[in-house]
Subunit: 400 residues, 2 copies
């Protein structure tokens, strides 16, 4: 098999860890696989570089930042290659540029345009293990770029897609994707498989595992993703297409604490008012999550939505000028979002009512509800967040 492995910051946290990663790479090679390995910067390195930049400027320009930040991954890739060569395995370290990763020119959050795999393929043909510095590429003018948060995962997925690899393994310090956060519900179980769509919906649960951008890219490029731990030999969680999988009714329960609710009452019920509000929020780069609007009465309507808790004040200020005097604005940051996710619910009725009943049985009031094809999200008071997660985890039998 041709496998792309990606090791994150804690997996290559120090020299000893890099040696352990070398051992793991070798095991996979011994098992007969061809290996391409994407590495992050050693943990702490990127933050330390950012601090150095901030010594000079609170708002350093992107091109310089990318030149600066890209150095951390280069160091890791060189060290891992040195370790492998010393152990008798031919390896070569590539920068993002040498790996053929071409991006647009949006510094510090560039998007990959295409990958010229010729150098990677040539090295694989020579029997070499290819080690790629993650998180980085070059634009078409040859300037170094970086891919933003979770960028090394993106590098790995994009390379796996371009090489048509059999598997893309993302190594972190957690074992995989769980039915819910094990710190909230100790009976949470690791999932063997999950669809791209469910993984995307579980983002808030899986944020520490995989960024949505990487899952989206994997889905688009049809890359079989496995997320697993580099600290043990446990099997991880395979994230793949829905087809051919046994479709669980519900795969997991997610809790997102970073939510604040805004309700606008007595809005004039005319076309374009919602568009005006949300485009002003978008213009201020505020991420609106759930949006609920009911049919209005007497020419007025109510509009509810959630924003990240730390963006609440900014959201209120942004809307100040466009809301008429008659509009009442209420907000509440003491709320959390609990979500039930599962591909199976597409073809089953009753999943939502089961959730509502479970929360009612615990005396939990649901403030807002929003549903998609594979997700039911509910806003509840923050004091009920963990209780809601445990109740839902149990009612769908996820601990079995």
């Amino acid at each position: 098999m041709l496998i792309v492995q990606k090791y994150g910051g804690t997996s290559v946290g120090d020299l000893e860890r890099i040696r352990a990663v070398a051992g793991r790479v070798i095991e996979s090679v011994k098992a007969g696989n061809e290996l391409v390995v994407v590495v992050s910067a050693m943990s702490g390195v990127t933050n330390s570089l950012i601090e150095q930049a901030e010594y000079f400027s609170k708002n350093p320009n992107g091109a310089d930042m990318d030149m600066l930040l890209s150095s951390g991954e280069r160091v890791t890739s060189a060290l891992l290659s040195i370790a492998l060569n010393e152990l008798g395995y031919k390896a070569v370290s590539f920068s993002g540029r040498k790996a053929g990763i071409i991006t647009n020119s949006v510094f510090t959050k560039a998007r990959i345009k295409h990958i010229d795999t010729s150098a990677i393929k040539a090295a694989l043909k020579e029997g070499k293990i290819v080690i790629i510095a993650g998180f980085q590429g070059v634009d078409e003018e040859g300037n170094v770029t970086t891919l933003g948060r979770g960028g090394s995962d993106l590098s790995a997925v994009a390379v796996a897609g371009a090489l048509n690899a059999d598997l893309c393994e993302i190594y972190t310090d957690v074992d995989g994707v769980y039915t819910t956060d094990p710190r909230i519900e100790p009976r949470a179980k690791k999932l063997d498989k999950i669809s791209y769509e469910e993984m995307l919906e579980l983002a808030s649960l899986g944020a520490k595992v995989l960024q949505n951008r990487s899952v989206e890219l994997a889905k688009k490029l049809n890359v079989n993703l496995v997320t697993r731990s580099s600290f043990n030999n446990n099997e991880g969680t395979m994230i793949t297409k829905e087809n051919g999988m046994e479709q669980a009714l519900v795969s997991g329960i997610a809790l997102d604490r970073n939510q604040a609710r805004i309700t606008l009452r007595n809005i004039e019920d005319k076309p374009g008012i919602a568009a005006e509000i949300f485009s002003s929020l978008a213009g201020a780069n505020i991420n609106v999550d759930m949006i609920i609007q009911n049919v209005g009465t007497n020419g007025a309507t109510n509009l509810g939505f959630t924003v990240p808790e730390n963006e609440l004040n900014q959201a209120k200020n942004t809307m100040k000028d466009i809301l008429g005097d008659q509009v009442l604005l209420e907000s509440d940051s003491a709320v959390v979002k609990v979500s039930v996710v599962g591909v199976g619910m597409k073809s089953h009725s009753g999943v939502a009512s089961t959730a509502f009943k479970a929360l009612a049985n615990e005396g939990i009031n649901i403030e807002m509800i929003s549903t998609s094809e594979i997700k039911i999200s509910m806003i509840v008071h923050e004091k009920y967040g963990e209780l809601a997660v445990r109740a839902l985890h149990e009612v769908y039998g996820l601990d079995k």
Copy 2:
């Protein structure tokens, strides 16, 4: 003027120093100059990277080492550019590749083949200060390479040559080139000007200032070099062509402590014997310095030469098999080399005899003598080294 400035490791030793360098760069820009700045890694960084590599391998492969080591200079260049942009001066940081520095593929000690200055020129045209990560380039296949010891100086000189710059300023932590080591002779004076040839001969004195490789390249490319301190505003020493300079009889006195003397007595006086000995030493990578052979008598001759002190044992072992039984090998590592350097001595007689008299007056025995057009070197017992330097410094009036 178009000026290339180069700042070494101590000049960019920490963030505060980098800010000071930014200030110096801005002064030069304010004076109306176009600036290209080549930077080294912050002091300690390269050694720390080497230590990390050595954790994995005592003999890491060159390609990985170059990927590893090149990161230090990239960090400095990005930080300096961030500092300049913050202070309101447009700057851009370039890797060696982006600066167009193309080398051969001899990793860890690559040689520059040519420089494509188009990106540098384009940035200068936009009114930008160009900051280049020194010490590095790429080979024709796009692999990162480094230039070996003193590599950042080389980058600066090569870029200055390719741009036809008016001046190449090499900033270090010393004020320039002195008539001799001020720690030996406190009356040593800083030279305002010195020729390339003299600088090359003074290498052992100037090793901490400039590597010979850079001076040779400056001579070849006709680059006006200035070496000065980044810690004060003193004028430095200009290293340039001989022409048009007031030619001092003697420019400086150098002391090289890393010398051992070997004398081979009773060698068969036939063609090819010296060639055999020195090619065996060259094969063992031993750097032979002075070589002295007198006309032989009775079909036998004596051969004297010096090698670096730490290579003496290896040199003796190398020669063991090729010297006949009748040859007597004597060696002495308690010697130093004192050299008198000056372009003026080309056209003056008596310079050598003045030296010999000065040492004789101090009761110093000269064990070996070797002369070139602009240098007289003498091997003396190591206990007389400093005394010899002071005596020669005085007899040629260098303190005046």
